[in-house]
């Protein structure tokens, strides 16, 4: 059984959708299902078929299905119910028969369009309220920091979100305006054009491109998430982070006493950054590290405040003091002397270790040494 899919017109373009289904039937593709974006067609012999769309008129909280008795009534009159999605329901009939069209008076059909206008208006209101609720949550307080970090690690997610909001909003506004126009024209007694000349080619191409971009970005995000899995932390590494053994802690590795997590590293890669998230636990100490290499610093958030605000203990600039460490552009140490932030070129590090390790070892010097070693001989994962 052969199937094909076509991008259908928006709900308000009633005549255009009817015509699309008629043309497909003529080419041997009978409509089987209408979804939110695509319509599915089944291969059959080419046939002249008349399609008519009826809009359901639900109340505020009732479903969008057409009433059973209405479908039966239309079927008694010779129409065949094909499919429906949301407010749009499609009927078909063979051509050149004495089957009555749904409406003789455009004013009466206008009544069904009122519900479409209402549904677009409701969509706009819901989107606005959602946006007004989500934006403050995203942009205020510590969430702003999390949002900036998510943007750095998964920028595609933000692009998807932005695109979805923008395009959905635009389509809702356009749907509201166009269905209002249709309502007024029907109310004036101008019958619905079942064979419109307008093809909306440009907006259909744009919408197709938008869907493709959305699909590609989603695939890229899925791939990125799949790649950024946590792995057991190796005992030796040439990657740009420290191990406790390199800081003199040779005690055996244990688990996080609170979460029972094993020592692990997560290496991720996005279009903006390559990053390492490292957690190591031994019987004598612990070490947490976040390492970022920015591919496009100009497009990335400002890392110093970002790392300060996401620090475990010293979450404000006043708790940090600049240090002078050879090999770095700048280094900041927290007042508790257990947290550090480093910058070297496009590289950024955040380190946190236990008190004993911090007291017994010069952590910044060890990191500088490790980076120097990587630069000298061993192969780093990114240019340093």
């Amino acid at each position: 059984m052969k199937w094909t899919y076509r991008l259908h017109y928006p709900d308000y373009a009633i005549g255009e959708n009817e015509q699309l289904y008629e043309q497909m039937a003529k080419k041997g593709w009978q409509l089987k299902k209408r979804g939110q974006i695509l319509s599915r067609f089944q291969r059959q012999s080419p046939a002249d078929t008349v399609y008519r769309i009826e809009l359901s008129s639900p109340g505020l909280f009732s479903g969008t299905l057409l009433p059973e008795d209405l479908i039966q009534f239309y079927e008694d009159c010779g129409w065949h119910y094909v499919t429906g999605y949301d407010l749009v329901h499609v009927f078909s009939a063979p051509p050149d028969t004495a089957i009555q069209d749904f409406y003789q008076e455009p004013q009466q059909q206008a009544e069904t369009v009122r519900h479409l206008i209402r549904s677009y208006r409701r969509g706009i209101m819901i989107s606005l309220v959602t946006l007004l609720l989500v934006l403050p949550i995203l942009l205020l307080g510590n969430n702003q920091n999390s949002a900036a970090k998510t943007y750095l690690l998964s920028p595609y997610l933000f692009w998807i979100y932005g695109l979805l909001i923008l395009v959905s909003f635009w389509r809702l506004i356009k749907g509201w305006v166009q269905s209002g126009r249709l309502y007024r024209s029907l109310n004036k007694g101008i019958a619905l054009d079942h064979r419109p000349k307008k093809r909306h080619r440009f907006s259909r191409i744009c919408y197709g491109v938008y869907l493709m971009v959305l699909l590609l970005l989603s695939a890229a995000t899925a791939l990125q998430v799949a790649q950024a899995r946590r792995h057991p932390l190796p005992t030796e590494t040439s990657e740009p982070y420290l191990l406790l053994s390199e800081l003199g802690d040779t005690s055996p590795r244990t688990q996080n006493p609170f979460s029972n997590d094993e020592s692990s590293v997560c290496r991720g890669h996005s279009v903006l950054s390559t990053y390492w998230d490292v957690a190591e636990y031994t019987s004598d100490g612990y070490l947490f590290q976040e390492v970022y290499f920015l591919h496009h610093p100009a497009l990335s958030p400002d890392m110093a405040p970002l790392l300060v605000k996401s620090a475990v203990f010293a979450r404000s600039l006043e708790y940090w003091t600049p240090l002078s460490v050879e090999g770095f552009d700048w280094v900041y140490a927290s007042n508790n002397s257990r947290e550090w932030i480093f910058k070297k070129g496009n590289w950024y590090w955040y380190l946190l270790c236990d008190e004993d390790t911090a007291r017994q070892t010069d952590v910044p010097a060890q990191l500088a040494k490790k980076i120097h070693q990587i630069e000298k001989g061993e192969e780093p994962h990114e240019p340093m």
Binding site: D69, Q72, Y103, Q104, Q109
Partner: protein, 107 residues
């Protein structure tokens, strides 16, 4: 019930519902009563039935889920008689036109 004139479609639906009927049967009855002059699509008729029911001019007699049968109510009958009397009076008032028409149409 307002005393404003009924639409032709309303008049025929009420007329046809003097006997209980459901959607498609009603369409056929209207076709018969108007000798094919009153063509009414199912969408138009369905919308009209809902409106007349809301206004209390017709009532639901039977609903088996797939088909709904309606019949005219007493209020509906009153409205129909009122409209019939109005139309009859209009016809009587213009009765002299029949003589004119006869003269104009005679060869």
């Amino acid at each position: 019930m307002s005393s404003s004139p009924m639409t032709e479609a309303m008049y025929y639906v009420l007329l046809a519902l003097c006997k209980p009927n459901h959607g498609y049967g009603l369409m056929q009855e209207i076709d018969r009563l108007s000798a094919g002059r009153m063509a009414m699509g199912p969408g138009t008729l369905y919308g009209l039935l809902r409106r007349l029911e809301q206004e209390g001019l017709i009532t639901l007699l039977e609903d088996d889920g797939r088909r709904k049968s309606y019949v005219i109510t007493e209020t509906g009958k009153e409205a129909l008689f009122h409209e019939y009397r109005r139309l009859k009076r209009l016809l009587l008032d213009g009765a002299f036109l029949a003589d004119w028409l006869e003269t104009e149409e005679s060869p």
